[in-house]
């Protein structure tokens, strides 16, 4: 193999004693962070579950009291049922809709369509939930005209929001799988006479099975720990009707019943660990090496029953258009809502196109929202700096020098898949002890819990394909590995890091649980004694929503919250396919 093309993927160096020390140095900050802010909380939850908060706020041991509470809690059954309901409905709707969508995306091969489809996954979930809430309002929303039904009375409302938010990612994983099918396989199936649906069933779907499983698992994790839409709809739906474990544990924490909240979180930890395990297995596990028990598979027999026909182009585009309407409808409505004068917001029947558009709501969303906007921006930038300077060196050491081996990588992926609600209690305790509650510091320090694994995983995949001779040259030129990384490697990887940076920003921008738990007031513009750090997601999800019902400003604020994700999508437009072509998905 030509030396120039040697990359970490082809050349994992394992027996290099002196270099290991330096690789360790690059990884050290990330490891310390993970130990303190992820491993400790996982253990901390267990400790908290045996404790109770007294009236004075002190924690005392109570043995199994909190666990016993499950048995006498009148709501637990309902909450658990709701959780299972989300877990079973959303992922399967996702996959059932994602496969045709992915096939349509591949067939139409339209980049614009891909970007529009992806939009929902990139916008803050709070914004998505709020948009649907406005759409599904039977009196003031557009459903008044065609589906006047009390959506607020049904748990399916949450399912719709969940599907809308998670379907694009599921489709993207499957779509990149379809696109990664080698040209020769495509040509072989052409020569063998396979077309359209038959080819999809007999060749494509079995080929990309790992991609499908992966998006299924991610979907299950997403749906099981649904939080944002439940938070947003509180106060407008019948009490407790749609509450799941994630929201319930937050509610318990909020009312000061910390021990019981810890028990609920432990239940969720167990569920999510099982799913993380499945995720890592699918992602890292190659295909099995055993010959099949049968000469022919049942799937092939089943799949060969499908018609060998290419879908007419018109039908494909028509189906694509229906998907687009579903994805864009709430955003279009929110935009229309945001430019209506106040008097038209609460009219029955609802006004669709206002005759006198006004920017009044934008002005108030910016002026009233300014403290929230500032917090969100400052925190997002702070988190971005931490995650990039801690995450990329670690990812490089892991990819190039296999530092930490499989264990570290699997741990990162494990944290990647854990819902952030799991870390809520111990992180609150830590920040409380440090006196940082209701400061931006609390958010900047804790957000990397869910941002860092994403940054490491993205950069890890980037560095797996980074030419090995570059740091070798730097070493020979007299730079130690740490110096080589920051002086040579990092400047050369701007391209890959850029994506991680933007991603980091977007995740921070849309975060809801941590700011809810760690802050309680907006940033005070009093610079002499600054305090408060509520974020723009809280402004949208609570302040304007169920706390005050300012639909106009709410719509305008929602539109404003779309700006960073739109910028990200625009910058990433040409690399989407490559980014999600995660390893391990090939036979």
């Amino acid at each position: 193999m030509d030396d120039i093309y040697r990359t970490a993927a082809h050349n994992s160096v394992t027996h290099m004693k002196p270099i290991t020390k330096w690789a360790g140095l690059l990884t050290l900050p990330a490891i310390i962070y993970f130990l303190v802010f992820t491993l400790y909380p996982i253990i901390g939850n267990i400790i908290l579950s045996f404790q109770r908060e007294t009236l004075s706020g002190a924690l005392v041991w109570t043995g199994l009291y909190n666990y016993h509470t499950i048995l006498v809690d009148p709501y637990f059954g309902l909450v658990f049922r709701n959780t299972i309901f989300y877990m079973l409905t959303v992922p399967f709707i996702d996959i059932a809709l994602a496969i045709p969508l992915a096939a349509i995306l591949k067939r139409t091969d339209s980049k614009l369509m891909l970007l529009l489809v992806l939009l929902p996954s990139f916008i803050p979930f709070v914004t998505a939930a709020v948009s649907w809430e406005l759409v599904l309002n039977p009196f003031y929303g557009p459903v008044y005209y065609f589906a006047r039904f009390n959506w607020f009375d049904t748990i399916w409302m949450i399912v719709i929001m969940d599907v809308w938010e998670s379907l694009p990612m599921a489709a993207l994983f499957i779509y990149t799988g379809l696109k990664s099918i080698p040209k020769e396989i495509e040509e072989a199936s052409k020569v063998d006479g396979l077309r359209g649906i038959r080819k999809l069933m007999q060749v494509d779907l079995p080929y990309i099975l790992p991609n499908i499983l992966m998006s299924l698992v991610l979907s299950i994790i997403f749906a099981t720990f649904t939080f944002d839409p439940i938070f947003v709809t509180q106060g407008e739906v019948p009490p407790m009707s749609n509450v799941d474990l994630a929201y319930y544990s937050y509610q318990q924490f909020f009312t000061g019943i910390i021990g019981y909240a810890a028990v609920l979180i432990i239940i969720m930890s167990v569920i999510s660990t099982i799913m993380s395990y499945a995720f890592v297995r699918v992602l890292r596990g190659g295909p099995s090496n055993k010959p099949s028990k049968h000469t022919t598979s049942r799937w092939q027999t089943f799949a060969s029953g499908f018609p060998n026909l290419q879908m007419p182009s018109a039908i494909t585009w028509f189906a694509g258009a229906i998907y687009l309407i579903f994805f864009l409808f709430p955003l279009v409505w929110v935009f229309l809502e945001s430019i209506k004068p106040s008097a038209q917001i609460f009219s029955i029947p609802p006004v669709i196109l206002t005759s006198s558009p006004s920017l009044i709501h934008y002005i108030s969303a910016i002026i009233e929202g300014m403290p929230f906007l500032l917090s969100s921006l400052i925190v997002a930038v702070g988190v971005l700096l931490i995650t990039v300077f801690v995450g990329t060196p670690a990812a490089f050491a892991m990819a190039r020098y296999n530092f930490g081996g499989d264990k570290l990588l699997v741990y990162v992926l494990f944290i990647y898949t854990l819902p952030s609600i799991i870390f809520m209690l111990p992180l609150f305790e830590i920040m409380n002890a440090l006196g940082l509650i209701n400061t931006m510091w609390a958010l900047i320090i804790t957000y990397p819990v869910f941002v860092l694994p994403v940054v490491i995983w993205l950069s890890y995949n980037f560095y797996k394909n980074f030419p090995a001779h570059i740091d070798e040259a730097a070493q020979v030129d007299g730079m130690n590995l740490v110096k080589a990384f920051f002086k040579v490697i990092m400047p050369m990887s701007i391209d890959g890091i850029m994506i991680a940076v933007l991603y980091s920003f977007i995740i921070s921008w849309g975060a809801l649980i941590f700011p809810l738990v760690l802050t309680y007031s907006p940033f005070s513009m009093n610079l002499a004694a600054p305090y408060g750090a509520q974020t723009y997601s809280i402004f949208i999800g609570a302040t304007l929503g169920h706390e005050s019902i300012h639909y106009g400003s709410l719509a305008a604020a929602s539109i404003i919250s779309l700006i960073p994700p739109l910028i990200l999508l625009y910058i990433m437009r040409d690399r989407l396919e490559r980014m999600y072509r995660v390893g391990g998905a090939k036979g």
């Binding site: 080698p182 020769e184 040509e187 598979s297 036979g587």
Partner: protein
């Protein structure tokens, strides 16, 4: 003459580059045909237009009397073996081979019968439960071959089928290809850039150069009677020296001769030169001799050794006279 495949005035361009420009090419039923040429000569383009994976800009492709020029791949009666096998990784060997038949709507029993029959012929019956990744390169290529011929196509296309294999397996499999083709009486069209592979298995050799067919014929015919400078140098080694080196001068540009068609003498010869160095190759030596400004290679069957700088004479038994890139005359001395 029973030509099963005919290409007529087939032109394929990529942008401004003419990748393929075939005036006429006929392939006879039941023969093993090898398309040979350097990279960029249009070999793959030719194969892909016949397969229906690319379409020509103009011209006609006729398979068994039917015009298939604009038919998609799945409506052509062809089988194709890919360089990297292109087996379906998620299917067992059995399912890989059976797939083309399931598409054609054969009954389960008939599929099973035909698959079992072909795997026996191919010598891969013990692998039918395995997945492609569990097989060696040579075994995978046999599976690919089985998949290509199970539907009994009118034409078997092979796109550099041996290039991904190591040298030993390559030699083994190439004689196997020929055997299978004979046994099943298929018409094969095999693309390669490896001239020794081409010489070894072709009934009929098609030499492509710059998208056009330079010469068609049996390997022996092409080796002995090349029509162009390109063919004579691409197939076998050739020394080319200006015609003026010889006393004969009938307006030729140059004269070429093969290293084995000349002998070295100390006293008598057609041309003389100085030994540069000698390559020892066991049963023979290749002697490099400077003749004027050119260096010629002479194959010496007696494995003689010559000192560098020694003056020697070369006697040529057979040579080609070139003019304007064409062979205008074979000269026998």
């Amino acid at each position: 003459m029973n030509e099963i495949l005919i290409l007529e005035k087939v032109i394929k361009k990529y942008g401004n580059v003419t990748a393929l420009n075939v005036e006429r090419l006929g392939i006879e039923q039941g023969t093993y045909n090898v398309i040979l040429g350097p990279s960029g000569a249009g070999k793959s383009t030719l194969l892909r237009t016949v397969a229906g994976l690319d379409y020509p800009d103009s011209g006609k492709i006729i398979l068994d009397g039917k015009d298939i020029t604009n038919k998609p791949a799945w409506e052509r009666d062809i089988g194709l073996v890919f360089q990297n096998y292109a087996l379906y990784p998620h299917l067992t060997v059995y399912d890989n081979i059976a797939l083309p038949l399931t598409v054609k709507g054969f009954k389960k029993e008939e599929i099973s019968e035909r698959v079992m029959q072909i795997v026996k012929v191919m010598g891969i019956e013990e692998h039918i439960n395995k997945y492609p990744r569990q097989l060696s390169g040579g075994q995978q290529q046999r599976v690919a071959l089985a998949r290509a011929i199970i539907k009994q196509p009118k034409l078997l296309l092979l796109d550099e089928p041996l290039s991904n294999l190591d040298a030993k397996v390559r030699v083994e499999l190439r004689s196997y290809l020929k055997t299978i083709q004979r046994q099943l009486n298929i018409t094969a069209l095999h693309v390669t850039h490896d001239q020794s592979e081409a010489m070894a298995i072709a009934d009929n050799l098609v030499v492509l150069n710059g998208g056009a067919v330079d010469q068609v014929g049996s390997p022996k015919d092409i080796y002995e009677n090349p029509k162009t400078v390109f063919v004579s140098t691409f197939i076998g080694m050739l020394n080319i020296i200006p015609a003026s080196t010889f006393r004969i001068n009938d307006g030729y540009d140059a004269v070429g001769f093969r290293p084995e068609n000349a002998d070295i003498f100390e006293d008598d010869g057609d041309i003389s030169g100085t030994v540069k160095y000698v390559e020892y190759q066991g049963e023979e030596t290749i002697v490099y001799i400077a003749v004027g400004d050119n260096t010629v290679r002479i194959r010496d069957r007696q494995s003689r050794f010559f000192e560098s700088g020694k003056k020697v004479n070369i006697k040529i038994k057979k040579a080609f006279a070139f003019k304007d890139g064409k062979v205008v005359k074979s000269i026998l001395f």
